[in-house]
Each structure stands twice: as structure tokens, then as C-alpha cells.
Symmetry: C2
Subunit: 317 residues, 2 copies
């Protein structure tokens, strides 16, 4: 069968449930280019109905298993679920993350579950640029629940909060785990904290540590619940899902949802401008020219601000 490339046909088919067309649409918007732009322009007006829940936390905390369980929770409430599994550190086709994905294949025969892995390779400007584009497609095509799971490494751990309505931070009852979460900046971004692998010793200590650290941050309108779970057996996962629903209700009833989504939108536009500028600089200044410019500044033949002006001048025309 010839590959369909007409975006209108792809959109129609994806809306009818064709997974291959959906996958193709996501690839198109990830890759950028004129067709991708057209797809985004057509789909964006249809967005705003999905609830996006982000999962973050250190590798090994059990995020994939928890995601798998949350799919089941959402499905038993009747909602179609899309999962975006984001791994900035590894290429699409390999590694541990794909192993983790296998677990989610329990849902592979469910037509109302769609799972997509994203890796840094082959994207326009890395995963942070591709994620909001992919979310736009999934929202517009009609998934009321979207789960975004990030492999917790560096900045990507924190960035998820800028893309999700509810951010789950997953830790384990291990000495130092809550401090690690604090160091990674996760205390600031968590709307719900999950102490997963709660069959291991130290759960109460971890909950207490998290609570104390959160309290150090002073007053806040929403106090993130700290929920123990054992994703492996499914224990406590209903409480996690309930906490997500509580946070959702809080955002809607407090009218904070509009404020938060609006501020995310502004950030998104700013980021998109940043990516566009970087791409344009890269198009007009190759690696050799860039390195030569750095050398000139390093040797003090040129000052950094003059170098910046030269680069900025490249953006014109």
C-alpha cells in the first residue's frame, strides 16, 4: 500500500481510529517542514479537551509500570488514553526504555490505547521541541487522557511540568531519594508525589521527608498529596489516579487552570521562537564558522558582544 501523505486524509483516518495515520501525523509534525506546519494549523483549533498528566522521577523509580497501571485506571473510567514515552537519552529503537515499553503491551490490543515512544534522534530540535507538537496531535485527534512519561535525566525531568496539567513525581522509599528529588528541582514541580515500591522499608520516613521539605517552601494553595503505591502489584494505584482527579478538580474549580494553561502557552511560543532562531543561526553559520568565532573571542581578537552582534546579524534577511 502506498504511503498516504495527504494531511487531510491522514487526519480523517486518524480520527476514525487508524493508528498508522496517527503515527504518521506525529512524525510529520515532529519533523517540521511545510506539511507539518499545515497539520499543526489544522489540528490546533481542535485542542484543549485532553487532560495531560506527566510522570517524572529518577530512572528505576517505576514510572513505566505506574504508567501502565494508570492506563488501566483511565480505561476503566471509560477514557481513551494516549501515552507519550519520552527518552531524551537514547535513540528511538533501542535500550532499556523499549524493554519497559514491552510491559505496556498488555494494552496493545485495546483500540482506545495508543503508545508512542519519542527519542532525541531524528527530531527537529530535540524532544522538548517535539513534545508539544505531538501533544497537539493527540489532543486534537481526541484522546481525553494523555500520559507523558519522561526518563528522568537532567532538565527533561523538570521540563515536563511545563507541558502537563498534573505532574506526578515518582520516588522510592530509599534513603536519599527524596533529597535527590529535591536536588533535581522536582519538589517545585510536583502536583502529586508517589512513593512507589512501597513494599520496601522506609516509606514513612520518605513521606515525612517529602512533607517537611514541601513545608519549607511556605504556604501554597495546593498541597501536593503524597501517595504510596506498589505499581508492580497495582496496590495504591487507584489512590494515585484519585489524586490526579483531585488536582484536576482543584485546578478547574479554582479557575487556576486557565491561568496555568495561558502561561504555558506563552512559554511555548517563546520557546518556539528560540528554536526557530537557533535553527536559523545553524543554517547560516556552520560548525567550522561557529568554532572559528569562538576561537577569535577566546584569543581576545573579538569581544563576546561583538560576536553576538555578528551572529544576530545573520538572522536578518
Amino acid at each position: 500500500m502506498a504511503r498516504i501523505t495527504d494531511p487531510d486524509v491522514l487526519i480523517m483516518r486518524a480520527q476514525q481510529g487508524d493508528r498508522r495515520s496517527l503515527a504518521r501525523l506525529i512524525t510529520l509534525v515532529e519533523n517540521g517542514g511545510e506539511i507539518g506546519e499545515r497539520v499543526l494549523a489544522e489540528l490546533y483549533p481542535k485542542t484543549g479537551k485532553a487532560w495531560t498528566t506527566g510522570l517524572t522521577g529518577a530512572p528505576g523509580a517505576g514510572k513505566s509500570t505506574l504508567t501502565d497501571r494508570l492506563i488501566t485506571q483511565a480505561r476503566s473510567a471509560g477514557a481513551a488514553v494516549a501515552v507519550l514515552a519520552v527518552d531524551p537519552s537514547s535513540p528511538f529503537s533501542g535500550g532499556a526504555i523499549l524493554g519497559d515499553r514491552v510491559r505496556m503491551q498488555d494494552h496493545v490490543d485495546d483500540p482506545d490505547v495508543y503508545i508512542r515512544s519519542m527519542a532525541s534522534r531524528g527530531h527537529l530540535g530535540g524532544i522538548s521541541e517535539a513534545t508539544p507538537r505531538a501533544l497537539t496531535v493527540l489532543d486534537a485527534i481526541g484522546f481525553p487522557e494523555i500520559l507523558v512519561e519522561t526518563v528522568g535525566v537532567g532538565q527533561a525531568e523538570v521540563d515536563i511540568a511545563g507541558k502537563a496539567d498534573t505532574t506526578l513525581v515518582v520516588v522510592n522509599p530509599r534513603w536519599g531519594d527524596s533529597v535527590q528529588a529535591a536536588k533535581a528541582g522536582l519538589l517545585e514541580i510536583g502536583d502529586v508525589f508517589v512513593v512507589n515500591k512501597a513494599d520496601r522499608p522506609g516509606v514513612d520516613d520518605t513521606i515525612r521527608d517529602l512533607r517537611q521539605m514541601l513545608e519549607l517552601g511556605g504556604e501554597r494553595a495546593w498541597w501536593p498529596p503524597i501517595v504510596p503505591s506498589i505499581a508492580n502489584t497495582g496496590e495504591g494505584v487507584d489512590d494515585v489516579w484519585q489524586a490526579v482527579q483531585d488536582h484536576r478538580r482543584y485546578l478547574i474549580e479554582s479557575t487556576r487552570l486557565e491561568a496555568e494553561r495561558r502561561s504555558r502557552l506563552v512559554d511555548e511560543i517563546r520557546e518556539a521562537v528560540g528554536y526557530a532562531v537557533r535553527r536559523r543561526v545553524r543554517d547560516r553559520l556552520d560548525d567550522d564558522e561557529w568554532n572559528q568565532l569562538i576561537e577569535e573571542v577566546w584569543s581576545r581578537a573579538l569581544d563576546p558582544w561583538a560576536a553576538a552582534r555578528r551572529i544576530t546579524a545573520l538572522l536578518a534577511g
Copy 2:
């Protein structure tokens, strides 16, 4: 007396020790514009000889008093000292920070000490843009020691590490202070940790907490010393200064200094490009136009990427 505006005359006079000309040069480079650019171009080749020590930590930790004491340490080693006191949260002329500055006035009659407060108001693109420019002037004019003290609030706390050769993180022996430092991302950036106000109870606990949290980060080539001090009385300040010298020797002998300065330079150029782009967008898209664009996207009449392309197009020409 008429105000001197010829940059060459200002540079000559500043090098001869005239503080008023030095202050004027810093103002010129902070304000940007063609004269500022000329000053930077002339001074930049003369830089690279100063050692920049940054001090960061929560408000009230005693950074100003410690800075004051470190001036004395550097002076007794014979070096001229410049202090850049950076307060992103308050205007130049007022508030607690100016009160703190008063303490440093012990050095006001010392011709080899120069103290400059910087605040967000009146600068080109905020303090982060102005700081490296001011540092360039101070370095080029011939201060071998530069202390940069930031009022610890938000991102500015962390940014200092990108401008300094040695970063001091100042905490107090107070329950939760080390965790606060961790949450603020200060564990990653500290080359030396100072537990100031060490006459209060809890010093050993704080040192132990810091050490444990640092150890969680895994192996590293430089283990930041954790030094207790009582800046009010001067006790332990010689140890703090010694730790700075140890770190300096480590960077030089391990040849990491060049790598670190080079990577800071690249960051600085990137940042400068970012500032230039933002300024150009601001010049060409006023607040009303910007808000209208956001409204269009919020109402989904326009998608965020199309908005970004419109903004990027403004940079051309």
C-alpha cells in the same frame, strides 16, 4: 566639572585609579549603545587576569558580612579588590541591600577597594546581561580579585556560577537550610560551602547533611570543602579564603580552568545572542501587538508555531 564622555579618556583615568571614571565606564557598558560597545571592544583584550569569586545563598545567611571580611583577607595578601553586589530584586537606590553595603564602607577609604551595587533597574536586559559586562571592565582595569555577591533569590542564585571561577555557597546551621540550598540547586554549583554563623547550634549536623547530599551526587574530581565561619567576628574567614585559594590552585593545576572559562565564554555568547534577539523582538513588536498575538493563539485562531514564525520573521531586515 563637565562629565567626561570620551571612552579613551575614561579608560586611561580609570586605570590611573580614578573611581569616578571607572563608575562611568561600568554605567556605559551596562547601558549598551555604541559607546558601551566601543568600551567593551577596547577593554576585552585586557581581561583574563582577575580571579572572580561568587558568593550565593539565602538572604540573611551573612553574605555581605562575609564579603566584607574577604575583602580584608584579599587586601592583606596585597591584592586590589572589586566587589560587585548584585540584587535582582530591588532598585539601585534603596532597601536592605544598601544597609548591608554600609558595612563594607570600612573599606571606603582604601584606594584599592572598589564596591559597586547593581540592581535590575536601568539596565539593558537585566542583571544577568549587565554582570559579565561589568566584570569585563573590572578585570581589564586591573583588579586581580573580584567578589560577586548575589542576593539569593531564584535563578540569580544559580546563575552566578556561570560568571565566577570559584563559587561560594553560604548556608547557616539551621534545620532545613542545607535542604533549602539543595532545593535551590546550590549543591551543584558550590565549589566551597560556608556554614556561616557557626556560633549557633547545629553546625555539625549541617556539615554532615551537606556532605551526605554532596556524596549522593557520586564521584567528582573536586570535593567542595565545607568551612564553618563566623563572619561577624571574623572567625574562620581565613579558612574560607584559603579554600578559595585551594580551589583556584586545583583549577589551574588540573588545567580545568581553561575548559571552564571556555565553556563559560560559549554560554556567554549564546546568552548575548538571546538578549539581542529578545531586544530586537521587543523593538519591533510592542506590548499590545504581543498580547494580541497571544490572544489569537489562546482563542485558537492561530497555532503557537505560526505565531513563532511571525515573531521570527520580525527579526529579518
